[in-house]
Assembly symmetry: D2
Homo-oligomer: 489 residues x 4
């Protein structure tokens, strides 16, 4: 059924840099031509895209499929999560490898295993949770041999994943030396721990205690700290899940001063507010528990605004879902509710509705922040993130006149809840092509475990361009060391 | 000599969205193909670009060629100014039509005349200096019939070009209704006038009085005001010649909140500081007189930083040169020194050296802010600002290993001074192709008056995308009018 | 009844700089002694203040009693408004003289007349609504002969009171030369006018149109402009009725940079939000109409916070009340609703409840921002604003354990509505002594028309201290004029 | 000579809240009366202050006398440092007790010993350098029994005094529970450590390496962090030695939002820039080494501006002096140069010259920020910091027409260098009275070891006013815990 030759006819082809009416011709998983009026032979599958947008498939920079966390495992694995992604127009994601007892290579092996059932392309970030010479050497191997070009540091989750400033500094330096991108989960973990204790003492044990224990100021603090330490080391920084105005303001401030900081809002933070976590039904309230928390109304609008003008650059999901029974581990103590929400299937639709339909961004912007910028940051552009001759054939056909509705009943995740339950909007992903095959068409998924490929991501993305020159210029500007005759004093 | 068929071989072709090693084939002024290893017949002129960058020719968004101003005329006309531009790698510019006694059509006629001798492509902005029904109707004609899509409002030059807030509001509304971009020269003209009087009273009549009479706070004020009024009307705004941290900060603030504001630093503001205007030699000091003034050291670095991260978007020149004899009109009173500096020839080299060589931006960024973004803003992309099949053949070959030096002796402007005198740096525009012809090659200019074309610029650039949707959403959010029974009170 | 000798025994005497348990002894309208255990003879009226605060009477810096405005007159005149003030613990106010056809002296005569019925002390600010040599000379007379040391400029009310930047600059310079304080009503009047037209065009003719037509951004704009122009002239500035975060942020920014800017929130802006103006009952909605408008929830809290740390300095009321029949002039067009709300009676109680009871400020702070700082700014401290030997005997006895409730039924204003209707809180002004006489005691008012005095306010308050030195230092720092040999060019 | 009865005649008596021409009468170390024309008997020493200012003696909130640090001891002990202080118009200081092996009580004993030779009054802050139950209990004893109401946390000096966020949070909570003020030395110690290593690796071993290794961004970071953690706990915070715009901006931001943060610039940071540390003479360069470092030009002016408008509140010195031979410990490695500069003698003169003579503040402001505000913050006002009946007789007579010059030759410190060498300015402390005795008069010091008293400082200063109410209000606002029926999920 899924021919190796496809022609998408008559659509408006949208790249981040340009949109034009053109046909797209695909062979063997690669885009061969993008131009008007392509003639093809009869063995080619032809998809009519007239009146529709033909766009690069979404790339989700932030997922946790099959992740072991808080004593359980997220229910969407590399197959179900990716199937959901494809049904929602996303054709690649980047997941976070968690080290095993601090060992990066053991972690990588475990994730390679998890990923064997993949039905779409994926890449890996790697978390760093402790520091020693072995970790330092393993980072080098990951970058030079294993196709990983980004490392994440958790400034929260005290007693588990959290690292301190000393380790963060070591990590930033190592990342810089390798041309790898440092990422941070930015919350002050010591203060969160304190906040949690306080809530429990106050008898606030329900999900709202989660939000109250880690207010925006703690996200703003850690974001400011990570940015300044990265600036001190002079290496680029990627702040994952920017959930609050507090964090966004710090990113804006740094960028204004020329610092290379990337801010990733996630779709839950962009379109939801914290009202859900106050729901009197525990199951409902618990499904909204993620970290940093979904914030009070107002933060969402501010994040959208910053995203519209490039203060923030791309949208992720932090897709990490747990079923109601898992969430119920924390029925008596919010600290035991596994953290995480869905989004991998909903992101493309919700970003369209929230940002394009509201008039905040253009269609080319949409492509940039759902796909292209992610590919550029993780250095796989224009193989990914573009509809250009030579690019991978990861493409969606999007009908702006159609509409979508999100419900647990119809979603493709294994989760038994959905934080976006009931959301409707304009626009619909009608076709998803990944690796040159039509995997989603008119509500039909056609996915095969094992068909997805690991995408190696090389170091030294554009974010590293000129860093060496800037360093050299800084050093030569120092007027130091001062020549001194060390006379007796 | 300049064949209609050209092949540029082996260079690194740089667009704002991507760079790749490829050949570029040109026929009859249009780029026909961009791909590796193009084979051509013998009648094609072949230029070897191995080891060099092949980039879109620069577009200068801000020039004043042959402008009547302060009782005299700027010495570079459409021929000499464009010749200088081409020698410096710029292949298009946008000049400001000044109305004649407030008449836009009369102004346009005059500028069409001035532009007859053009040797490269050009477009027009239009200044608005008074307001009545005729002006309002003429704006419509300019947009719909004359290919002008931007209007500039001077918040300074009291008694001459300056408009007040009432006119600015009318202008912003009209611009919005036409899909035309409003531009502002942002200084508080009343306060500048006051500042000038004060300096004269203090006996400070020399060029330094110019800088002292219009400090950064007055630029910051007007920038903030224009931004807020544009926000109030909800129409995009373009701030010309952002010269100070004060103005830049306002732009950053607006963008963070999602407002569509474009900030244009000019090359003199990016690379110079105010020390020159204190020179004890009048001729030297006077050549630096422009408005807003070149600021104290520190503003330049801050503008560079903001430019590097997209807080500011493109670089202009405000090229408007006067000879020493003209500048000497103000020997006894700085208020009579014609305002203006050069830059049209130097911009491409100085931006490279200051931004790329220093490690602040990448080569693709360089293309974006010297060419592509200008083409996008003024809605002529990808005809201009790109090296894509179908684009105009406006191309430079840039040698990053070579070097440049700026001197009055060798520049191509008619000016007898140069504010960048003595500046040296890395990189050199070796070849400039405009309209498909090699006009600059190895230090030889080959330009023909009358060969440049007027480029019509259509309204509703990307900056207007979604404005109508956002307006509609705002109106529907108002919960007004409130239904009231007008009972007796 | 109101003896000329009073002893207040056993209370906690609070000054802005200190609180202590002490007795206060008064003779002939003047405080004679403040110390523990004062012994007095039998002819002295003794008031027991044990367990209560003895504080300087409130000074309201911003009222409009008997003001002609928008074709009618505010209903509280100098008698009824002052009676209400006294019942609420305020013992002095400063009202704004409005020129008659631009004539300051004619305006002053009119206000002297209005003030004849005064029952408590008062001072005058003077509005400036046009500019010529006569106005300039009259300002001098007002300051040197008439005891007026502050002039207000309206940046809004286009076609009526509004002045432009040119006049504002002249006014600022004149104020500086006289040691008089410049005050601004800061909204962009041109944009407000535009906003009003737009609302009417949209069919939004009700009171909510008032709020929608003049959003916070227009207050922020004008505040920023006034601050920068005052900074340019280097003279202190007083921003009346700071109603929005936008304006407050500008004041904060200026103060951080060392500029002398005073911000006056008013009690309606501190404790109300804009919900009232959406009320479906016109009379209710219309009573909230004032300019700048009462803002959306959030602005109030931000203003309180800024007030608590001294970013804002004192609290006024803008008391200017119109009856429902007057408000009904605008039943079909919000532009005709007379602008103004009450507050002169409620200010002391509401500031206590909102700021002290909530834990945001101390009792000494309370005295500072309701009384002392006003006296200092208008240069009548320590005659007013203090309980010190030698100060005027304007004193309240405040019971923090009691409580208050605000209703139209019981208020002393002539207004038939009250924007604070139904507000309750802790604390009660039990006794008000003004001019050494007990005018309010246990719910009984005892006021006599004509007993209030005009308080002359001398120029050169503390805000002017060092301005001359700073100016001299600035000038000597200029390194200008540059010595130049005017050689041939 | 130093009679127990003194009359200061005819001066302008300045308190923070008021200045007036009055006489001051002193008996037995206490001010008995402040009023015009006091008549006294013949046994009273009369000092004529006509034409001069009579002000509260300075209080230095930040000194390190006889401190063991970096393997040596600061050379000014409680006698020589206090003698210098008195010669410069300072009559009280607060020193930092350093625990002995973490023991607060052992530290206190040691400092009581050091202080036995005191010749003027003093108080103690206490540093906290580790955390356990004993420390926690000792803090309580210090506050309740020993008269200490402030605790300092070092966020720098890794491996020595530095604490981490977990300890800081514990400390903040404990401080809050005791009504004690938390103070921070705010620099990111991990990053400083990293910066130091880097400088050494670069071969920058001289004093300039000290400044380069700990740039302003690290001070800004730690200041932001401490402020946010204090805000999270909701307890007041005092930031010692604010040396940079970066730190000041954070304080300004917090205060704008209503947070109670005190910022203490020190005189070296206010009046010097970093040029000295680049001096080619090691001894000269090394004398400027303190932490945080003295910053580049521009920071000084910004700190002055913020001080002038109350964004910063009082001025300290961090007086901690080492001789050239001690500074030379670091001749080959800046990390071994003992950190510290002088200032206890110079502060009053330099603040006058920099702030009052320049026109930035008034004389009452001067009293506030050199004396009164310190007394208020540390809860000893009006015993200290005021010239009121009942206050301690700590008074200076200051001649604004005289002048001063600072040189090592004439200073009273034991240090063989002075960072203010050669500074001259207007104004002179002619007489210093402390404890009711004339200790400095016309260049003559008359001091007696052992005559100084320890001043107990009680907890719950004004900074704690309302904290409990605000906490209660916050808790009641939470709408938590949510009532939930824990139904099956
Ligand atoms: Zn995370
Ligand atoms: Zn995550
Ligand atoms: Zn201009
Ligand atoms: Zn221009
Ligand atoms: Zn007003
Ligand atoms: Zn008013
Ligand atoms: Zn310190
Ligand atoms: Zn210290």
């Amino acid at each position: 059924s899924s021919s190796s030759k496809i022609l998408i006819k008559g659509g408006t082809v949208v790249n981040a840099h340009q949109q034009e009416i053109a046909d797209v011709y695909i062979e063997d998983g690669i885009i061969v031509a993008v131009k008007p009026s392509i003639k093809v032979s009869d063995d080619v599958t032809v998809l009519d895209a007239t009146g529709k947008f033909v766009m690069p498939g979404g790339i989700d920079p932030h997922t946790h499929l099959g992740m072991e966390f808080m004593g359980t495992q997220s229910v969407d694995d590399f197959f179900s999560g990716q199937a959901a992604a494809l049904a929602g127009g996303t054709t690649m994601h980047i997941d976070f490898v968690i080290p095993v007892n601090g060992s990066l290579s053991a972690g990588l092996e475990a994730y390679k295993d998890k990923a064997k059932k993949s039905c779409m392309d994926y890449g890996f970030h790697m978390a760093i949770t402790k520091w020693d010479e072995i970790v330092s050497r393993e980072m080098e191997i990951m970058v030079k041999e294993q196709g990983i070009n980004s490392f994440k540091f958790f400034m929260a989750y005290k007693g588990a994943l959290m690292i301190n400033d000393e380790l963060l500094l070591e990590g930033l330096k190592k990342c810089k030396s390798l041309g790898a991108l440092a990422m941070v989960h930015a919350e002050n973990g010591d203060a969160v721990f304190e906040g949690q204790k306080k809530m429990i003492e106050l008898g606030i044990t329900g999900p709202e205690g989660h939000a109250l224990s880690r207010p925006p100021v703690l996200e703003g603090e850690a974001t400011a700290r990570a940015i300044r330490l990265a600036g001190f080391v002079n290496t680029p920084l990627y702040v994952v899940h920017v959930m609050s105005t507090d964090a966004m303001e710090e990113i804006a401030r740094a960028r204004k001063s020329g610092q290379r900081v990337i801010g990733e809002p996630v779709v839950s933070g962009l379109v939801l507010d914290d009202s859900g976590i106050w729901d009197p039904d525990f199951t409902t309230a618990a499904k909204y528990v993620m970290s940093p928390p979904i914030r009070a109304s107002g933060h969402d609008k501010a994040l959208q605004a910053a995203l519209s003008t490039g203060i923030l650059q791309l949208v992720g999901t932090d897709h990490c879902v747990f079923n109601s029974t898992q969430k119920a581990f924390g029925i008596d103590d919010f600290r035991k509710i596994p953290n995480g929400v869905n989004g991998i299937e909903e992101r493309m639709h919700l970003v369209w509705d929230t940002m394009v339909e509201s008039g905040q961004i253009s269609v080319t912007d949409y492509v940039r922040l759902t796909s292209t910028e992610c590919a550029r940051i993780f250095n796989i552009y224009p193989r990914k993130g573009a509809i250009l001759a030579g690019s991978d054939a990861d493409i969606i056909i999007f009908n702006p006149s159609s509409s979508f509705e999100i419900t647990t009943r119809s979603h493709h995740s294994r989760s038994d809840t959905n934080v976006f339950e009931g959301k409707r909007g304009k626009g619909k992903v009608e076709v998803t092509i990944a690796g040159g095959r039509v995997l989603w068409n008119n509500g039909e998924l056609n996915v095969v475990p094992g068909s997805g490929k690991f995408i190696k991501m090389p170091p030294y993305s554009y974010l590293f361009g000129g860093i060496d020159k800037a360093d050299a210029k800084y050093l030569s500007s120092l007027q130091a060391p001062v020549k001194r005759s060390k006379a007796a004093t």
